[in-house]
Assembly symmetry: C2
Homo-oligomer: 416 residues x 2
Amino acid sequence: MLKVIDGGVTAPKGFKASGIEAEIKKKNKKDIALIYSEVPATAAGTFTTNRVKAAPVLVDIDTVKKGKGQAIIANSGNANACNGKKGITDAKKMQTETAKALKIKSDLVYVASTGVIGQTLPMDRVVKGISKAVKSLHHEGNDDAASAIMTTDTFPKSISVEFELDGKTCRMGAICKGSGMIAPLMAGPHATMLCFITTDANVDQKLLQKMIETSVDRSFNHVTVDNDESTNDTCIIFANGLAGNKTLKSKSSQDYAVFLEALQFVTTTLAKMMARDGEGATKFVEVIVENAKTEKDAFVIAKAIANSPLVKTAIFGADANWGRIICAAGYSGVKINPDVVDITLGGKSKDEEDFELIKLARNGISTNFPESDAKKLLENSDILILVDIKEGSQSSYVWTCDFSYDYVKINGSYRS
Amino acid sequence: MLKVIDGGVTAPKGFKASGIEAEIKKKNKKDIALIYSEVPATAAGTFTTNRVKAAPVLVDIDTVKKGKGQAIIANSGNANACNGKKGITDAKKMQTETAKALKIKSDLVYVASTGVIGQTLPMDRVVKGISKAVKSLHHEGNDDAASAIMTTDTFPKSISVEFELDGKTCRMGAICKGSGMIAPLMAGPHATMLCFITTDANVDQKLLQKMIETSVDRSFNHVTVDNDESTNDTCIIFANGLAGNKTLKSKSSQDYAVFLEALQFVTTTLAKMMARDGEGATKFVEVIVENAKTEKDAFVIAKAIANSPLVKTAIFGADANWGRIICAAGYSGVKINPDVVDITLGGKSKDEEDFELIKLARNGISTNFPESDAKKLLENSDILILVDIKEGSQSSYVWTCDFSYDYVKINGSYRS
């Protein structure tokens, strides 16, 4: 049984965290986060599939090969991407400086950066910040760390749960950031933002890697804000084993299902928070495509609808312009028969359980729904777009947000 | 020698046009356009590849099989898409009513609609409008027709040229509309907006079809506004032969090159006008990708950059955030080596010939260009983004526009 608890990344045994100001961003903003396990942990991770990979991502891809980790050092305000050799040198320096201050080996330290691309890190301030972050480590440091990785995020994102493996109480916690340059990709292992997960469960490294890939695929890879896949996407999980359960090794064990459920709950919760906090977002939007021939077909259609600027601006304007929804389905690349498509709109407040529903189109034609009722639904904070293409029995989903004036405002002046 | 002349679609011999108010749109807006050739013409066309095709598109795809045409009837304010059997019946009624009023055969009439999806046409007003449009036909009707097909366009789009085939003076003219739901697609014949082209040249139908496909591929299919491919895209060309040249039949003739040049000039000019008039656009943006392994690679990268909301909002905000450009190149799907990429920014006013240039990145790293100079360039109306990926020798281009508050405004309340 999964239970939501307090504490975020510091909820599991043996984990500390901190978040401090190093003046990488403007003054009075936290910009360096540190997560630390008192003992070396089993580590796994997924990274951006963008051909342009930030220096810290390249360093981590190398580090995770050994499958061990004890600390994650992350800065916001600067992506350390497209800085050539200097970028790699700086990322490695972040790694070694953190290791030195913590008195651990360098290859137990992971590095992450997020912010502006193409500007080099102010390394003097970063090094001082690392030292400050190490000194600030404590068991209640989760909220500081969650704040320190934010860029255009409007709220810190964190979650933690408790569950039982092998008769032992285990915990899992995570922090995450991401609100722009967010896009899902289906194939292969990769993440689409910064997400750091801690657990005191004892898990085999190979199985942990598989489970993080599966969970990322089902959660973060179903989020899109602007279809821009970042150069810095990183998702890392540490399992330090301090809960004392027998090492989780087999996919066939009952414990496997329990752990995967916890991991999926954590990643799904954070993924939805990310969509809700999309840059300029005023609404959370869930697109579900039902009855496709394959899950991938359903996903491709859902993604086309979720990425359509015309659909997203219509939702912002509370205009039930379902023609734009079927139009996006039509150009998605998947064979559909428009003459059988049903489109249903749902709306609810953030705290309500169930959506109120209105069918907008049946068999590709308007139901002549009352426009004022649809408009009212669209004035809710949570919107559902349900598309039934009647081609098969598979379904998929994408989480996104609407497209508002504030997206333009935020991104027209991001660096200034 | 190509010469730009006045007259638009009515510049070629034997063509008349009109544009009238039928009250399909709000009052005091023209919304039905008619183009008519005094004699039956050779006809060719390309249409949307969206799986959801509007009723008039389905009717035209059938009509063009015979390769002949004499009239084009088009309405704005309603797309006649997603209206089921009623949509087809209405599109065919537009065709037969026009034929009846013009006393020509129905299968010489093409139909086009643009506007809101999923609402049926007010056929009583459409029928009255057709009769009015036929009565209004005249040799100076181009501007009325160009205005009548506008939706969110801020200016009518029209061009005409004169050239010589077989010693005879020939003319070609065109009108076009399109500012939202505009996206390019590479494979296969199709158009991405409404474009009607007339010529008095005498051209073999099969060759005309090939040439219109080639020209659309090189022009309209390189425009993106919002990556939303419409359900109604239509490009039709009529060649009525009244210039008296010997039928142009062979690709190897000198005349072939002359005619294709004219056609490409016309479609390219209109395609660029469409990008400049993209919904909410404040700037025209040309993205050129150089030295790719294949032209398709270059196109795919250019398209990813041109469609990136982050790039487009940065241009709107005059922020030379080149990291977003290389990031988009990186997730385009094409293999690139970021460490060799050069990015150059250009700016000029609409009437200047040459771009002023600043190199932003060399071999994947910032040139440390003066930000204020780059900002000044970006305050121009015409922006060039030149990306050299140094993988081969092929290049391609995409025309687009920036992404402003007004895009959100226009599309948040399109139907109201």
